[in-house]
Symmetry: none
Subunit: 208 residues, 4 copies
């Protein structure tokens, strides 16, 4: 039986991770000074290093948390959608509607980390790669399932579609945060929705 009981230390650790994730995604998982982290976490240095061996360990945990939080939001967006095309559109809507929410206050944690850790921190970069691969696999599986289910055209290259969606979304999220408005995200959403309807979705009466 899986216990959900949490010790005091456990809860403290979670609080640290949660608050660090928000702060570090904004200020940078590498660039955020520990002083800011401990202040945001409501703890002191001595206490923090009881829960995490090193700054890198905390950054890793905070990154994972931030990624999980985003994934959670996207999963919720899929609720009730059975058609692959509708699922893809739901994901687009999720980004367009909630990009300003936490922890996206600092943009996509994966992209941020991919860029920030590019040179400085191979371990964190690896983590970003892995998270991105999972995100890519997820999209690819949605497309594949749609093909199998006769919802998406048979010849569709799932790998390519996944890449295009991720690239366009990530780029649009970056633009959204650079300018502070969502117009670019909306443009991408409209484009991809059109693409879904014209190129992916199996039209009624169309033979698969």
């Amino acid at each position: 039986m899986k216990s959900t009981a949490t010790s005091k230390g456990q809860r403290t650790r979670e609080r640290i991770v949660e608050r660090s994730a928000a702060l570090m995604n904004h200020q940078g998982f590498l660039a955020a000074p520990m002083a800011a982290v401990v202040q945001a976490a409501g703890i002191q240095k001595g206490g923090l290093y009881r829960h995490f061996e090193s700054r890198e360990a905390l950054a890793g945990a905070a990154f994972d948390f931030a990624v999980a939080q985003v994934r959670e939001r996207l999963l919720q967006a899929l609720q009730g959608q059975t058609n692959a095309c509708d699922q893809l559109k739901a994901l687009l809507q999720a980004y367009d509607g909630g990009a300003a929410e936490v922890p996206l206050a600092g943009g996509c944690p994966i992209m941020n980390t991919a860029i920030e850790a590019d040179y400085a921190d191979p371990a964190l970069r690896s983590r970003a790669r892995e998270a991105m691969s999972q995100w890519h696999d997820w999209l690819r599986r949605i497309v594949r399932a749609g093909i199998k289910a006769g919802q998406i055209r048979a010849g569709t290259d799932a790998q390519q579609v996944a890449s295009v969606f991720i690239a366009a979304i990530e780029g649009a999220v970056m633009l959204t945060h650079l300018y502070g408005d969502t117009s670019h995200l909306q443009a991408v959403r409209q484009h991809l929705e059109g693409f879904i309807e014209r190129e992916l979705r199996v039209q009624p009466g169309e033979s698969t």
Copy 2:
């Protein structure tokens, strides 16, 4: 005869900017330590601060240089292309073919800076915004010109097309650097080329 003679200091300054641009685009315009910069530039700290008032000033100049270098490469790719659709395709090809070259060794300088300076450096962030806006305007003007010339369909939303191209390309460049391979960039290129041919280009015999 117009002299292109440059003083010694001028040449040194250019050398610093050039080398700093490459290094800082890789290590980060904010994160790269001055020690690394001066080493790459082949100069000492004492000498560097004669040419740049501060680290920020150098970062700004290096950023501008990196952006100009990318723009130069893209301009060259447009050589000889008169049709707007072909111009867009040439730009895609330029990215796909030379993404690994300097100064793209560190990815797109605008995106890098947009993310790195998001919280830490408002001035640099402004610079990134401006550079991105120019890049966006450029694409929009190409599309608009294509519409006027009867090469691109009349109803096309130039603003939206520009946003989609930039978002997708930037995202793909990020993925390319995260994984070290260009497959995502190729996927985006194929997708956008298909989009150009199917949705933008005025077909022979089609009424504009």
Copy 3:
């Protein structure tokens, strides 16, 4: 029982201030390098900046401490003196007798700071002004009290007397440190004592 217990940090801070005051009054509150300060304070740079935000903050605290130390010595010299004229003479004696002691090892901190911070540090200069004003007020009050008590002649200009005493003493302290002997201080003391007896003190039998 009222505890006078002080935390470890508190004691360290006091030690830093005390040692810095002595060193900075000698080497200059602005000119003394932090390396010398931390060495004298028996602490490392990293530890020092926990107690003081900046070098300026430390200089301010050290200055205040040095001034308070001088004031303390002068207050002790007044012990037991009830006649205003005798009080003035006691102050003169205090300077003449103990000018070489700490923290006067570097001369009067107020004068030192007034000159050193004249151009470089408006904040410290303000502090010096305030300390000097207090010192001036103190003397003026002594003279005024003497007039009220019928010990000093009625028509005496207290403000002027205070200015003369301070100017002469400060100048003499400067000369004393410049030459390393107290002859100038003694000259000033003799002059002012003669002035007190001839011009200030109400003679026995004299009507006020």
Copy 4:
């Protein structure tokens, strides 16, 4: 025959000294950065070091110049005064009237240097000592001459009078610059003038 012909280099050197004296007396003979000196002197570093071996050499020359300038002003004040008491009063008047003029913009150069160079620069401190001694000797000689001429009372201690005048004047100059007003200087002047009339000057009909 003394030639007043000056070479170009000679004139440059004088300009440097003159401007440096004003600047360094304000910012500090040791504390003023060379960048400020060369800017004020209207010359470049490379050029300056052709005229002065080191920063110390320049500081010494500038100090001497500043002192000479003050001496010049005081000598002018003595013009036409034959009575020693009147000479002393003329000196007081000179200070009171022109304290704000150059190079006193930064206060008395001797006092400034005495304090600034106390710890940091023994050579400059020596220079200050010497200049102060000359100033002291000058006053002493005036008093001695007054005694001999029957203008000042026979028993007067010339050494002590010189010390009192210098101490009081220097202290008052310091206060004047600290507060930016001359009230303290006026107080000292009134006090010393009273002292001259009551204690020094041989009254008409008084036997010497």
